[in-house]
Each structure stands twice: as C-alpha cells, then as structure tokens.
Amino acid sequence: MSTPADIRHPWPVRLWHWLNAFAMGVLLLTGLLLFDIHPRLYWGDDGHVGMPAFFSIAAADRNAPVLQTELQIGSHRWDVSGTIGLAVDDGFGARDFLAVPAPEDWDFGATRGWHFLFAWLLVIGGLLYAGYLLGSGRLTRLWWPTRGELGWRSVVHELWAHLRLRGARGDAARRYNLLQKLSYLAVLFVLIPVIVLSGLTLSNSVTAAFPDLYTLFGGRQSARSVHFLAAMLLVLFVLVHVFQVFVAGFRRLMRSMLTGRYAPPPELPQ
C-alpha cells in the first residue's frame, strides 16, 4: 500500500537548510585556508612558532634539502610526506593536502573577508531558524524526544536499527527518530553556538566588550583550537547526515528537502 505524500519541510526549513549548507561549505573551505596559514593548535593564551603545539602539520625541518611533512599530535609524530603534501613552511602543506584550490591571486585578507561574510549568514540564519523552531512549535513537536523514546529498550532498538542501516518505513518514517532528534538538537543548540562563540573569542573587539569569553574557553589559543575541533565535529555530522540520506533513500529525501513533499517508503509486507 502506498503512503500519501505530505508537506514535511515547510519553506523556511528548506530555505535555511540550503543557505546554511552553502554557508557551511564556504566557511569550511575558507576556514581550512585560514588554519593552514598557521597549522598548529595550542592551549591557553600564548601560541606561536617556537613553542610546543598539541597538534601540527608542518615541515619537520624547514632547512632540509628535501622537505618532510610531519603530522604531530601530542608527543606522537608521523611522516606524512606525499600523503599530506609538501609543507614548504608552516602552512601550504595542508593546502595541497586539502586540495583547496588556490586562485591565481589568492589573498589572505579576502579569505578572512569571505569567512566573516558567511559567518554572518550562519549566525543570522541560525538565530532566525532557532526562533522559527521555537515559535512554530516544531521544536517541541518534532525535535524533542518523547519520554517513551528515552527508555532503554527503545534506545537499544534504535541503535540496533541504525547499525543494521534499517530505516523506518511507513508512518514511522514521517517522524524523526531518536538519534536524529538528539543529533539535530546537539548540532543546532550546542555545536554551532560553540563554534560561533569560540570564533568570536578570536576577536579583539568582542573580547574587549566581553572578556568573560576568555574564561569560558580558557584563553585565546584554546578558543582557536576549540573552533577548529568543533568545526571538524560539524564536518563529521555532515558526513553522517549525507550518508544517512543515501541509506534512507536519496530521491525521497532530496525531493522532500527541495519541494517539501515527502512520501515515506511503504511498509514491508509481513
């Protein structure tokens, strides 16, 4: 028996989804370019060449005849020459590795400019969207886990279904499942705010007006590290999100995010 299509995603949801996806794409690319100019992460306020970093991708010895790129995490070091690319100096190695296209007249100032422009899109869009979710009741109706869903039997069932890549069918597929709800809540209300606040902590003006941001993140370099690490978590979310779209039916879900109309996969015959 086929199930009828209904409007799953009203237009504000679709508009925000695609604008936000585009903004996040630009932010990721420009962010990687910005990271790459000083590809080292530190903790605290102080962080520069000549002091230990807890993470770096850089030339092991800048004066060596053949440059060797080293990935360093804590006290572990790996030679990643060839796989991560050629590190000429701090930076540039990751630029090759990430295959971020370097335009003819790539300039650092404009990279920062684009990053901040799309950060505004992310922030303003995110605030409007969060307001819409609250105001329309969608947050409590669609995103909030029900008491029943949080029981251990339901949680185990949901995990097992995900591990076997068994998506919901029929009317059950019209609702977000528990893991979906939790990850959406975590991304919109924890991860993105952490990324935005840690990014703002890198600003002289913002920290002059709100010095407590330094306390929140444990220093300027800590905020920078949190900013990049949280961005990587967001990338992880996007990868899983896109993977799930393919698992659960690319055409159906893409149609619903483009037109709003969604017809769930029919129930399997018993």
Binding site: I37, V49, G91, F92, F108, L202, A208, P211
Partner: protein, 254 residues
C-alpha cells in the same frame, strides 16, 4: 604584522609553480566580489563599534604571563642605508614628526618622547594568521601626543608612515586609525618592550600598539604621523599597506 612577506618570498624562491605572487597588488577593488566584501566588512565594523560603545579597555595580563619568545614578523630589519645610519646612532638623529591637520606640527626625539607621561601595559598580540603572544609595552599614549599637537577641525584619521619598504612592491609600510581608536587609552606609541628598548625586529625606535585591533594595524618603525581628513589620497587609498595590497580589512577588530 604578518608572516606573509617571509612566506611568500620563500615560496617564490622554492616553488614557482604555485602562482601566489601572480596577481598580488593588482586587486580590482571595483569588482563586484570586492564590493560585496567591503559591504560585509562595513557591517562587521558597525557591529564592532556597537559592542564597543561603552569604550571598554582590553584585558591586561600579568607580567608573569609574558611570552618567553615573541615572534618577529613582517620586516625584521628595514633594508635602507638611512635606517642603518639611524640604528648605528642609536636613533639620536631620529625625530617623530607629527603633521598634517594639526595646530602645532611636532618633531620629537626619542628622549623627548621618553620624558612624556608613559603608559605600560601587558597585552596579548594577535596576528591575523592565528598565532598570539604576550608582551609588555611602554610608550606615550597617542591621545597625549595628539593633545600636544592639537587637531584641526576637519581631522578624522591618523596615518602612521613607516621606515620599512615592503619587498613585495617597494612602497613603505603604513597604517591608519580613526580618531576613536587613536584616542583609546590603550593606544600607545611604544618605545620599550618587556622593560627594555624596543628591539629592531619589533619596530625600533617606535611602534604603534592599538590593542583593539589585530597584528598588522600595529605599525612598526614609525617615522611620521600625519593627521588627515580622508584616507583616499594615501597609498592606494584603503588606509594601510595590507589593506591596499591584500584585501586586508581596514577596521581589524577581528
């Protein structure tokens, strides 16, 4: 200040295949993309000025937090013979000239600057490239100097002309502030760093510390201060060397 100079020179020497130097300095600021960036930068500047309307001071750190090492970036040693002569004479022949739209043009020696009321602050220097380091700076508040020179009625911006010619295009480094940031209590002209004379690499004999803004605004090797009503006639008209050359934002509060 920025590491870009050293990195790009190095890159130019090592890997001619990476066309980084290709289009530099020929930014078309009238291109639609450039204008969109300018629009966004303007919005960002207004938002910063909004949150700074209470005129806060930036955080000052304790002397114990001073970085053991402070990177030298941009020009480490101005290449001119004139600078060499000034350095050899321990800057006795150097004068800070203050001119433009002022009531009383000034020419001050280092000793005269050092005799003026000073401010000492331990602050976090933040480079647009991402690194940061803590140092203690001692110098004359720019506001004190501008009160001494007086300002003409149409004064709006303060331009810092520097002694270092930047290798990328051969023109001298310069930067500028509007009067709001110029008058900020933590905006100083520093002649000492960490309790000692300002080292050459960090901008001897005199450098700007503008704590509300990031690295490249903090001009080193200052030669002359010019008060103007518009930034358009200076350099390529965008208020600073990186602003002209590399699309760097003029109000660099982030």
């Amino acid at each position: 200040m920025s590491l870009l100079v050293s990195r790009r020179s190095l890159l130019g020497g090592l890997a001619a295949t990476v066309p980084v130097l290709g289009g530099c300095g020929r930014i078309d600021h009238a291109a639609p993309a450039s204008q969109l960036l300018d629009l966004a930068d303007g919005f960002t500047r207004h938002m910063q000025r909004l949150i700074l309307s209470g005129r806060p001071l930036v955080r000052e750190l304790k002397p114990a937090e001073i970085s053991a090492f402070f990177p030298v970036t941009g020009t480490s040693m101005p290449p001119s013979d004139d600078f060499r002569r000034l350095l050899d004479g321990e800057f006795r022949d150097w004068r800070l000239r203050v001119g433009g739209l002022v009531e009383r043009p000034l020419a001050l020696s280092l000793a005269e600057l050092q005799a003026m009321p000073a401010r000492t602050q331990v602050t976090l220097h933040q480079c647009d490239e991402g690194w940061s380091a803590v140092a203690q700076w001692t110098g004359v508040p720019l506001a004190t100097l501008l009160q001494k020179s007086g300002l003409q009625r149409n004064a709006r911006y303060v331009v810092f002309h520097c002694l270092d010619a930047v290798p990328l295009d051969g023109s001298n480094y310069y930067e500028s502030l509007d009067l709001l940031d110029a008058m900020h209590p933590q905006t100083i002209l520093a002649y000492a760093m960490n309790g000692k004379s300002l080292p050459v690499g960090n901008g001897a004999p005199l450098r700007l510390r503008v704590e509300l803004q990031i690295g490249y605004k903090n001009a080193k090797f200052i030669d002359r201060i010019e008060v103007v009503d518009s930034l358009r006639p200076i350099g390529r008209g965008r208020g600073g060397w990186w602003e002209d050359y590399d699309h760097a934002v003029w109000y660099a509060g982030l």
